[in-house]
């Protein structure tokens, strides 16, 4: 399968695709997405996201959901750094 894909995206013609394949990226999925319209991609994302959230809510405890939320906020802090100081009127 991998060899077939390497033939389909030869490095001389598709260097970025060949490099992506080497990293384990499924280039055939990208190729399928290119054929979709942006609106179709957006609809697909929202469907996936809705399903993911419903599955989480149905299968995880409140404590686990809270842990996910806290990790999300921590990742934001790590990425953006501290937020400017805000006082009670947000100013």
């Amino acid at each position: 399968m991998f060899d077939e894909l390497k033939k389909r995206y030869p490095p001389d013609k598709f260097p970025a695709c060949a490099a992506a394949l080497d990293l384990g990226i499924d280039v055939t999925l990208l190729e399928a997405n290119v054929r979709l319209t942006p609106a179709e991609r957006m609809r697909s994302l929202m469907r996936q996201l809705g399903l993911q959230q419903r599955l989480q809510e149905a299968n995880l405890s409140p404590a686990q959901l809270e842990a996910i939320e806290l990790r999300y906020r921590q990742e934001k802090l790590d990425y953006y750094g501290p937020q400017p100081e805000l006082d009670s009127d947000h100013a």
């Binding site: 990293l23 942006p38 994302l45």
Partner: protein, 170 residues
């Protein structure tokens, strides 16, 4: 934890004529990347008027600072101060929104190359150009973003190959 309705948030911003460019994960998906992302990141034109439009549009959805929700709903009167921030992390009843004043290394709203993509039938949205999205992912340096950059480069190559001028004539 609110349900993330990024599509609805984008429609709210469009309806209110907020000036913004979609960046980050949703921009990558709009260009064709295979990714499930909860993040909606927008590069905003950080003027007091534009931030006021944003906050006014979000008032029905009770916008709060993600990391200071104890402060309550952000009033529109905060716009002038918030327009001086580099970023504003919001949470609303229809999901979260990361509002950025600058995106490294491409810069501020006026500096970036944007393309208009029809994310909703009949409605186009300004999205960061694919080439600049690659640059942003590369600049981040996080392993996950570097992997994304490779995926976006492959996507760029496939998109170019799909255009008529790169067609299968050979």
């Amino acid at each position: 934890m609110p349900e993330q309705k990024s599509d609805e948030l984008l429609r709210v911003l469009l309806d209110a004529n907020v000036e913004f460019v979609v960046v980050g994960g949703i921009a990558a998906v709009a260009h064709g990347m295979d990714r499930s992302t909860k993040d909606l990141d927008v590069l905003l034109k950080m003027t007091a008027g534009n931030v006021a439009r944003l906050l006014a549009a979000l008032q029905p959805y009770h916008p709060k600072h993600l990391l200071r929700q104890d402060l309550g709903v952000i009033p529109i009167e905060s716009s002038a101060r918030l327009a001086t921030f580099d970023f504003i992390l919001l949470t609303t009843t229809i999901g979260r929104l990361d509002v950025l004043g600058t995106v490294e290394p491409v810069g501020r709203f006026a500096d970036v190359e944007q393309v208009r993509l029809e994310l909703f039938p009949g409605r186009s949205v300004a999205v960061l150009a694919l080439e600049q999205l690659v640059a942003v992912k590369m600049a981040s340096g996080r392993p996950r973003d570097l992997q994304d950059a490779h995926e976006l480069r492959a996507l760029l190559e496939l998109s170019q190959a799909a255009r008529p001028e790169f067609g299968d004539s050979d």
